[in-house]
Symmetry: C2
Subunit: 266 residues, 2 copies
């Protein structure tokens, strides 16, 4: 794209959804693409004011006319966005989503988009907080679903944006994220509910814990929903966490001080 | 002490207990003091081999003759160490402990040591892992219990070792640590039991979480015991954590996808 091939005009990219993550995408794609942005829940004037001089706000039809369309909608509204978009897409268009789960969204995209439209399901493993110092070196999970455009896009993510591209499947992604995000957000939610917690008399490991909490505490409620409810494996991970925690609590509540070290039976 | 007053001979410091934390103390005090070390569970030859050229291994009587004696024993063995040490201490000696809880140990020290012996209860808020890059700037909780020697020692910890000295009481310390260490070690114990967890497809916040786990996972079992059982407030913090987690789980397990964002009722 433009930064990679300075002689070519910047490609046109459509963006549906201009929430926290849509704005992050717009900021990092602006040097590489001409962006056309639509958000069904935001007035075009507000989008235009925040999107920078290189981007334009437009209706869904104009966004759908771009050769690449990125869906940055909540996972719960992906179905609705796909239905609205599908009739306007041209053959060969590459549609990309960026949600925190992949099995369900990949199925929605595959079922709801015309057969001649290419599909790339992605999950940038960072958010507005963790991308505060830029996105180079950060990880993105990439699941090519349909067509060759997915591989060109992955190459751009790697070389154009400097991301650490992890090629995977929706199923493998959701299994890993049920632990990675499921546990992080679960623990963060509980620790936030326990506040105020000490800030001065702290250990380095507690500081790291609270730094992790700080990175996800302002995530949109929909992100938490996607991670804990839309991920088909999250409930199982939660149950395992609670079972092990309960077991540990029972051991600690035992009256006798054990001669042997306190152990968590597995 | 020596580094602060190069013209004076290095003061003599006795150390009881040569486990992981005792060795950490010996390493950082060696440039400032002549160390005499005793561990009732380790042969003197082994201590001498590991303690460096500036330190000597000795029996409890010689350790007790030092003007400053540091107890680096497990919290569960503090009572035993105090009883063994007490008959040999000289008037004006400063006895310092370094355990992870302070209410119980401070009471043991105050009750078990002669009235003419000064007492400083401390808790370095770091361990062998988090002190890997040195201890300057790290935190230490300091509770003066008896005598003026405690304040001279606190001044040395600040100026001689560069520690961030937090002056507090055993009660305030244990309240804060019930959350700080209680939660960190509880979460770490459960996450370690859930391993293997993903290492490649991870978020930055999950990486921070696992870094926190890494700092405490190799702590001696006795540290976990002190934090979760000897701290009088730890059980209450655990119960609050489990209650909030259970509430969150119940909300997530609810069948209806809420129209409003998932909220954790407080």
């Amino acid at each position: 794209m433009s930064a990679l091939h300075p002689s070519l005009p910047a490609p046109s990219v459509g963006l549906v959804g201009f929430g926290a993550f849509g704005r992050l995408i717009a900021r990092h794609l602006a040097p590489h693409a001409r962006l056309t942005i639509h958000d069904p829940y935001l007035p075009a004037g507000l989008i235009a004011a925040q999107a920078g001089p290189e981007a334009v706000a437009a209706d869904l039809r104009r966004v759908a006319a771009c050769p690449v369309v990125i869906l940055a909608t909540p996972v719960t509204r992906l179905d609705e966005a796909v239905r609205a978009l599908a009739p306007h897409l041209r053959p060969g268009t590459l549609v990309v989503d960026v949600g925190s789960v992949k099995t369900g969204p990949a199925a929605i995209l595959a079922a709801g988009l015309p057969a001649d439209v290419e599909i790339l399901a992605t999950h940038p493993l960072f958010g507005p907080q963790s991308a505060g110092d830029g996105i180079r070196g950060l990880k993105i999970a990439v699941c090519p679903i349909r067509g060759r455009g997915a591989f060109r896009a992955a190459a751009f993510l790697r070389r154009g944006l400097g991301l650490d591209v992890i090629l995977t499947t929706p199923e493998a992604h959701d299994r890993a994220m049920a632990s990675v995000q499921g546990l992080t957000h679960l623990i963060a939610k509980v620790l936030v509910a326990m506040e105020p917690l000490p800030t001065r008399m702290t250990t380095r490991s507690f500081d790291l814990l609270m730094q992790a909490v700080g990175m996800v505490r302002d995530d949109a409620p929909d992100v938490f929903h996607a991670i804990e409810r839309a991920n088909p494996h999250a409930a199982q991970v939660r149950q395992r966490f609670f079972a092990l925690a309960g077991q540990l609590d029972a051991e600690l509540a035992g009256e006798a001080v054990p001669a042997a070290p306190v152990r968590l039976a597995s």
